[in-house]
């Protein structure tokens, strides 16, 4: 795209910078003025959200925003906001705020969560950077930074399990980093550019270029928990504090997805991928993931683990939508990014509230918990129902588009897979809710202790649960509209 079409704007850089500055200020506040601590934490995520809202208005009028700093050779630090980045930034900044507020409630003891907030803010800055980046090298920089920051979040409890889970993730991150470095170098050498927005850079086919594609898939697949690279996830989610798992599930997994979309549509280009058929690798992995993840989720008794495996299946949906190389399917995938974030976000936050209030992590121990925490379990149920894809909840919209897309490219059998997976979803989520409300015959077993109303913990959960259906029942489905814009960008 010629430079003339772009609006130069510094906002994307500021969005990335503010959480990083927020982390620094929080550190200073902890040292010198601890009353201001919560304010700096909130400011670190609220300011990006406000700036994103402003950026959205600018974007509506002026189109693609662009900003380049000539540091970080060989390509320079580039930010570029097209409809995909816009969509993702809106999502990320919103979730960042919700999760951060929740974390303030989760770590009410200031000493406990002190360092966690620095890491959280730094990681969020990295996440914003990933989706706002304008070339693959910048993407790589933020991607690696974010991944390295996630490691201390996993290991934060410093129990043996969390250290082990953290290490597993850490080593996979390093493999991802090396793989991605290779891929980016090959891209840059072969095409002389890694910039997004050109609709495809590669022109020739060679083993080297294929190796780059595989390396991209490995690196981004590890982050987005693509089968068979999902192995870090269940351990990490089970061992990590809930906010860390939520950030990973709602935000970080999605950076991998964005990366895969960028690789397919911006680096290789639609027609190139269609010619060589490498999307079939992704397609096969996606379908295996959808079924395998659901079956595994079934077998877990630890709530976080069950949610993690369910995440593997959900990522399968998104990858399916990308790999079908069809406009409707991509709308489904992009919409599913949002839908999954709301759904899984609220499930995780519920799990976190259950944990901090009762110390329970096993599903089998949660009988009758709905009577103790009705609001939380109601939200949990809404999200669970949403995940099955029952209309009018969010996931219905994405599954509908995925199905239509599959039909259009002549693979109607994919719809059968979708339905199977949805049924499996229902079978591992509904029992949790049913047990929570009805599972306890003897009411005396329930702790009748009334819990104090904890706004910081409850309100984020309610907001996310509302998000699971609010857009579909509203007269105007805003995210769907944005998702359509994203798909139009590439088709």
């Amino acid at each position: 795209m010629p430079q003339a079409d772009l609006t130069i704007s510094i906002i994307p850089a500021l969005i990335v910078l503010s959480p990083l500055l927020g982390a620094g200020l929080t550190f200073l506040a902890d040292r010198y003025q601890s009353r201001l601590r919560n304010a700096t934490v909130i400011a670190g995520v609220l300011i990006p959200l406000l700036m994103t809202a402003y950026m959205y208005m600018v974007f509506q009028h002026q189109g693609v925003l662009y900003f380049k700093l000539n540091i970080l050779p060989p390509t320079g630090l580039e930010f570029r906001v097209d409809s995909l980045s816009m969509y993702m930034t809106l999502l990320f900044t919103f979730f960042a705020l919700v999760i951060t507020v929740y974390t303030l409630g989760y770590y009410r003891d200031k000493e406990d969560g002190k360092v966690f907030f620095y890491i959280l803010l730094l990681a969020l800055g990295g996440c914003f950077g990933v989706v706002l980046s304008g070339n693959m090298f910048t993407f790589f920089l933020f991607f690696e930074f974010m991944s390295l920051m996630f490691f201390p979040m996993v290991a934060y409890k410093s129990t043996p399990e969390s250290s082990a889970a953290g290490l597993k993730f850490f080593y996979m991150t390093i493999i991802a980093g090396v793989a991605m470095f290779w891929a980016v170098v090959v891209t840059y050498l072969d095409t002389g550019s890694t910039s997004f927005g050109a609709g495809g850079l590669f022109t020739s086919v060679s083993p080297l270029i294929f190796s780059a594609f595989i390396c991209y898939l490995i690196a981004l697949g590890i982050k987005s928990a693509m089968i068979p690279l999902h192995i870090w996830m269940a351990d990490a989610y089970a061992a990590a504090p809930t906010p860390a798992a939520t950030v990973s599930s709602a935000i970080m997994l999605k950076t991998g997805i964005v990366g895969i979309i960028r690789v397919i549509h911006d680096l290789y280009g639609l027609s190139y991928i269609q010619d060589v058929g490498w999307n079939n690798i992704l397609l096969v992995l996606a379908i295996i993931g959808m079924l395998y993840g659901s079956v595994c989720a079934f077998a877990q008794d630890d709530l976080n683990r069950r949610l993690a495996y369910s995440g593997v299946a959900q990522i399968g949906y998104i990858l399916l939508g990308i790999s079908l190389l069809n406009e409707l399917a991509l709308v489904g995938a992009v919409y599913h990014i949002m839908a999954h974030a709301f759904m899984k976000g609220s499930l995780f936050l519920c799990a976190g509230v259950i944990y901090v209030n009762t110390g329970k992590t096993k599903i089998s121990e949660m009988q009758g918990i709905g009577l103790q925490m009705p609001i939380i379990m109601l939200c949990f149920t809404i999200a669970a129902v949403s995940s099955v894809g029952i209309p009018p909840l969010n996931l219905f919209v994405s599954k509908w588009h995925l199905g239509l897309g599959a039909f259009e490219v002549g693979m109607p059998w994919v719809i059968a897979v979708l339905i199977t997976s949805s049924l499996l979803n229902a079978s591992y989520y509904f029992p949790i809710s049913i047990n929570a409300f009805l599972g306890c015959r003897e009411l005396k077993n329930i702790e009748r202790k009334r819990l104090r109303f904890q706004p910081l913990r409850i309100i984020p959960v309610i907001i996310l649960a509302l998000g699971a259906f609010i857009f579909t029942i509203a007269p105007f489905n805003w995210p769907l509209d944005l998702a359509r814009n994203v798909a139009q960008l590439f088709f």
């Binding site: 050779p73 060989p74 920089l141 390295l148 201390p152 410093s158 250290s163 953290g166 390093i174 470095f181």
Partner: protein, 490 residues
């Protein structure tokens, strides 16, 4: 255009004067001694820096000292390549001298230590500025001799043994260089470094002899550059005080070896002749072996300084491998790694030294949870380690990118695979240190006051910050600098 400037002489002579003053001062006059040491290395740094604009402008500074015979004499010739080594060493010497003040506070024999510490600076400058092979040889030996007392400073049996090994390797290597001086002088009648090489004219008639000389020279300088199997003095020399290990075994000595190799490549043989002679492929195999085996042996080490030492062996291989590619991007990667590796590795050594000073711990398994007591130190360590692994935006990635790109673009992908394998191995031996430091429980408690003496902490943190700045702003700092060097080679 050639110019005569006084700075090279100032840079070589000031440390000698400084060393004499330190020797004359009484052992008890620590403050004055430190002042003289810091001032004299700072003068060196400033005089080297003041030559930078002239060299970057493409002018060559020549200083003729004196000649014994026709074509044989002491002669300084400061070209961009020499400037790289000179600037890196003199900059880091300032940091290391400040750091030494803190490190040596409770050690014996401080006067002797500083005498030789400052004196070696002059030798390193001589190596950097040498305008012919003879001068290079003289200063190279001078450097070995000056650093010997530093290596054996502890005075224990172990250190004496290591010292003997060190000096014998150095002198043996020097002897090989000396032998080739004879042959080259006999063949060409001159030993002067020229941008395109000086051996072209005789290559046709004496191709075998030239290959033999090449082997002699590479073996000679390769001892210092720790090319396997000539590396074994390097881990042994780790008994030296840490600032010495840091400076001499991450920066000056080993880099003098690598620098010597670069002189052989680009100032004696020239890139075209090397490509013609077909000697690079064998060397490339040896170097690749060095990189991989060095990294594997690093994994095995349980003492922090030894792990760093083996890592140095691998990293030095990167530099030589990059130069071997004889392809602009690869050579750029190799040469820029002289700077990047120096900055990163000296940071790591400084951290190791602070850990020793503050806690007395040397073994890796004793370092669990040390991040609690020394967070800044371990953060600086993390920057250094991640930088050597090639994590953006710390400066190591600049070299790794260019090495990979050079490997792929020069058509020999094997180079690229070696570097990728090695960076995975790097991760395997560095990451556990960082992880253990921050995420394992240990016997370390947070302490009041600064975590280490400020004369040590400040240089270390400054270097870590520098490493990040050199990564982010490489196309304003290191890359243009190295590109001036490339202009003289290609």
């Amino acid at each position: 255009m050639n110019m005569a400037l006084p700075q090279p002489l100032i840079a070589v002579i000031t440390p000698i004067i400084g060393a004499i003053i330190i020797r004359v001062l009484d052992e008890s006059e620590a403050a004055k001694r430190h002042l003289v040491a810091v001032v004299s290395v700072s003068v060196v740094f400033i005089s080297v820096l003041s030559m930078l604009p002239t060299v970057l402008a493409g002018e060559v500074i020549k200083v003729n000292l004196f000649s014994f015979l026709e074509g044989l004499g002491l002669f300084f010739n400061i070209d961009p390549l020499g400037m790289v080594f000179g600037l890196v060493s003199s900059t880091l010497w300032v940091f290391a001298t400040v750091y030494s003040i803190g490190y040596m506070k409770h050690e014996h024999g401080q006067r002797g230590y500083f005498v030789f510490f400052v004196l070696s600076c002059s030798a390193a400058m001589g190596v950097a500025f040498a305008g012919n092979l003879f001068t290079l040889y003289i200063f190279y030996e001078y450097l070995a001799i000056c650093t010997y007392p530093l290596v054996v400073h502890a005075g224990t049996e172990e250190s004496v043994k290591a010292g003997i090994k060190y000096i014998s390797y150095s002198l043996a290597g020097g002897a090989l260089v000396f032998l080739s001086i004879f042959i080259i002088h006999d063949l060409v009648g001159t030993l002067d470094f020229m941008p395109g090489g000086i051996l072209n004219s005789v290559a046709a008639d004496h191709s075998t002899l030239i290959k033999v000389v090449f082997v002699l020279l590479i073996a000679g300088f390769g001892t210092k550059a720790a090319i396997m199997p000539l590396h074994s003095w390097l881990p042994g020399a780790m008994v030296a005080p840490t600032p010495v290990s840091a400076l001499l075994h991450a920066v000056a000595i080993v880099k003098a070896g690598v620098f010597g190799i670069s002189r052989v490549f680009f100032s004696l043989y020239g890139r075209e002749l090397l490509a013609e002679l077909n000697v690079t492929i064998i060397l490339a195999i040896v170097i690749s072996f060095t990189i991989i085996v060095g990294s594997l042996m690093a994994i095995k080490q349980t003492v922090l300084k030894l792990r760093l030492a083996y890592s140095t062996i691998g990293q030095l291989g990167y530099i030589t491998l990059g130069m071997l590619m004889l392809y602009p991007t690869g050579v750029l990667g190799g040469l820029v790694h002289i700077i990047n590796h120096a900055v990163l590795k000296i940071t790591l050594f400084f951290c190791a030294g602070m850990i020793i000073t503050v806690t007395g711990k040397k073994n890796l398994d004793q370092l669990r949870g040390i991040g609690k007591q020394m967070p800044l130190t371990m953060l600086a360590f993390a920057v250094g380690a991640l930088g050597l692994m090639g994590v953006t935006p710390i400066c190591g990635y600049i070299s790794k990118y260019h090495l990979l790109a050079g490997g792929i673009a020069s058509g020999n992908q094997a180079y690229a695979y070696v570097i990728m394998t090695s960076s995975l191995l790097n991760a395997i031996y560095y990451l556990p240190i960082i992880v253990n430091a921050f995420f394992r429980e240990g016997n370390f408690k947070k302490q009041a006051g600064p975590e280490a003496p400020l004369t040590m902490l400040v240089p270390t943190v400054a270097l870590a910050v520098m490493a990040i700045l050199f990564g982010l702003f490489a196309n304003y700092t290191t890359i243009p600098f190295i590109e001036t060097v490339l202009k003289t080679i290609f």
